[in-house]
């Protein structure tokens, strides 16, 4: 059997993967470098009976996908920089109301309009803390077109499993580069759909935790009638200010991710077993890092690569473990220091740590990484 292959862009891979994952609703607002995702889905979704809508702004796009998700659809939205800033309030709404949705952020430099066409990795912390208030977060950062496909499918699965927004963080290079991808056959990748209620409409509560920390979600418009609010709410969905209920709800929402971190985390490790120095890197930068690691090995430096694919929750246990066995960790990222602080937090001084930042709109080269490694050793 010959498998279907194509030479496509990261953004295109992401859009096709959404359809594969069962996405039937996309709302967006055009912005470079994410627009191809909307363009492909405007074409593909009607073919499968799905819907595409270009909204009046990014806030409206977030609102529309949350509304459609409440009606039972798997939903996606894609944006960048200023658009992501606008979405933050309603990302918070999706967190507190526990609405599954996937948001793609093709990162550009910033703040503000920044550099629309240059690659960046400067929204690492926004993906974790962008919306106000305590909340859980899941963010995934793929590094190749094939991986974008698989990780987009996984993003939908995670959103549906944990009833929450999931962000896919890409940079302009992975989004726009063309690579050969092999399309998975239908059924080849697991597809997860949100848990439907176990109880009758009369007994249903939208935030019922009798079945665990992740309450089943009924589609609005079916037989289950309920209320949703962005206020702190009781298990029945209605607003509450009762201290113990608010506290329990807030903590449960964090626990949804914390308690399942092992299932959500995903890392790639390359030659880390005996490494005296580890380059910890994600997205397009990890591809320069891999090249640097190979070159350093040829020179006799025992270098390794640790690549978090899930950025949030941050793989803290595993990073702490590898840090104990190595002399130094170098964190190259296209920003002026974001993920490196997370590494610092978990490494707790058990090895040397060096940051390598670049924000001029050019990717970090293997040579920059090699120089940094030599400097730190």
């Amino acid at each position: 059997m010959t498998r279907k292959t194509a030479l496509i862009q990261g953004n295109e891979a992401c859009a096709h993967a959404a359809v594969y994952a069962g996405c039937t609703f996309f709302a967006g607002y055009p912005i470079t470098p994410s627009s191809e995702i909307a363009e492909v889905l405007a074409k593909e979704l009607p073919k499968v009976g799905g819907k595409f809508i270009q909204m009046e702004d990014e806030i409206a796009a977030m609102a529309a996908i949350i509304g459609a998700s409440l009606c039972g659809h798997k939903v996606m939205d894609a944006s960048s920089g200023p658009g992501m800033s606008l979405k933050q309030e309603l990302i918070g709404y999706a967190c507190i109301a526990e609405i599954p949705c996937v948001i793609v952020n093709v990162m550009r430099g910033g703040p503000s309009t920044g550099m629309p066409t240059g690659p960046s990795q400067s929204d690492v912390m926004q993906a974790r803390w962008g919306t106000h208030g305590d909340h859980a977060a899941i963010a995934i950062a793929p590094a190749s077109c094939q991986e974008i496909f698989a990780e987009t499918v996984r993003a939908f699965n995670l959103a549906e499993t944990y009833r929450m927004p999931v962000q896919i963080l890409m940079d302009e290079i992975v989004a726009h580069m063309r690579e050969k991808i092999v399309f998975p056959e239908p059924g080849e990748l697991a597809i997860v759909t949100r848990q439907a209620p176990f109880v009758s409409p009369a007994e249903y509560k939208p935030f019922d935790t009798s079945f665990g920390d992740i309450p089943p979600l009924a589609a609005m418009g079916g037989n289950y009638r309920y209320h949703v609010t962005g206020l702190n709410k009781a298990p029945d969905g209605f607003p509450t200010t009762k201290a113990e209920l608010v506290d329990a709800e807030e903590r449960r929402q964090l626990r949804k991710v914390e308690a399942h971190a092992a299932a959500i985390e995903k890392n790639e490790e390359y030659l880390t077993e005996d490494a005296e120095v580890i380059v910890l890197s994600f997205g397009i930068t990890s591809r320069s890092a891999r090249f640097a690691v190979d070159s350093l090995r040829q020179e006799g430096v025992r270098a390794g690569l640790f690549r978090p694919i899930t950025l949030w929750p941050f793989p803290e246990k595993r990073v702490a473990e590898v840090a104990r066995k190595t002399r130094a960790i170098v964190v190259p990222e296209m920003n002026l220091g974001q993920l490196v602080y997370e590494v610092e937090r978990v490494v707790k001084g058990s090895c040397r740590l060096a940051a390598l930042g670049r924000v001029d709109g050019e990717p970090i080269t293997p040579y920059q990484i090699i120089d940094k490694v030599k400097e730190v050793l």
Binding site: F25, A27, P46, K47, G49, K51, I53, M55, E56, D57, I59, A60, A63, A64, I65, I66, G67, A68, L70, C71, G72, H73, E89, L90, Y93, M220, G221, G222, N223, Y224, R225, Y226, H227, V228, T229, G230, L231, F238, P239
Partner: protein, 276 residues
């Protein structure tokens, strides 16, 4: 026989948060009677709001209800209606919610002519946050943030909606309770985006500051200023200054958004089938 509201009020959710004399309760009762008259299936009806006193309405009524974020009701509702075009979708909210922070969503929902009925309770003020001025506070009126009188001009919501493409636009006041039902029924039955502006009263945050001795006085003013649209047609513009024109101000048939999109899907799928 007196109308039985209980069928539509969620058990245990009353008393509501509204102040004595607030007009929002009158609108809620009108909405319930209208839905009853239209014999809507509760499971197939959704009521969506933003944030504000008016936007607390969905919590009390037994439908699919979403209390969204400030100003975003129309955008959430657009997603829901697109996702499930058979669902009857109603938006409710205040003037600040609908045409200040939510103004962009409001005009684009009008433009799309998506089949949603938007009930806008215009009490000329931000009630929930304690009486700051809204785009509908009369010029020279008093609000907590216009201590010297309001320097801003006022939005004419109906004109805004008509200009933006809404295909059913009506206005009444909280005094004209039976007209509220009638206009909401017509709005629900109309295929397309329907806007029903209800001039409402907020005795607490607006009345007090603007020298209305009681809510009765505010209602009386609504009664006195109201001119039915048929009568207004025969009046000179100068005689209409300061009046509230009530009734159906605009109605036309234009393609509805979800129907247009369904046709697009059909076309795309037919083309794909023809290609094999």
């Amino acid at each position: 026989m007196a109308f039985n509201y209980e069928k539509y009020i969620r058990p245990g959710k009353l008393p509501h948060i509204w102040c004595p004399g607030c007009g929002h309760g009158i609108v809620m009762k009108g909405l319930i009677r209208a839905i009853d008259k239209c014999a809507l299936n509760k499971n197939r009806t959704a009521v969506i709001s933003g944030i504000g006193c008016a936007s607390r309405l969905p919590g009390y009524v037994d439908f699919n209800t979403v209390h969204t974020a400030h100003g975003r009701a129309a955008a959430f509702a657009t997603g829901m209606k697109m996702a499930d075009p058979g669902l009857t979708v109603l938006c409710v909210g205040g003037d600040g919610d609908g045409v200040a922070i939510g103004g962009n969503h409001f005009i684009h929902a009008c433009r799309r002519n998506i089949d949603i009925t938007y009930i806008l309770m215009n009490n000329h003020i931000y009630g929930m946050t304690g009486g700051q001025f809204s785009p509908c506070t009369p010029t020279d009126g008093f609000a907590s943030t216009t201590p010297y009188g309001n320097p801003d001009p006022v939005f004419d919501i109906a004109k805004l909606a008509i200009g933006a493409g809404a295909t059913f636009v009506a206005r009444t006041t909280a005094y004209h309770a039976t007209q509220i039902d009638k206009l909401i029924i017509e709005g629900i039955q109309h295929k397309g985006f329907s806007v029903i502006e209800i001039l409402d009263c907020c005795p607490t945050s607006y009345g007090r500051r603007n020298k209305y001795r009681s809510v009765v006085e505010m209602m009386k003013q609504h009664k006195e200023l109201a001119v039915p649209v048929t009568a207004a047609a025969k009046m000179a513009p100068e005689d209409l200054a300061g009046k509230i024109i009530t009734g159906v101000l605009h109605k036309e048939d234009k393609p509805e958004y979800c129907e247009q999109y369904s046709r697009l899907i059909e076309k795309v799928q037919e083309q794909a089938a023809a290609k094999g």
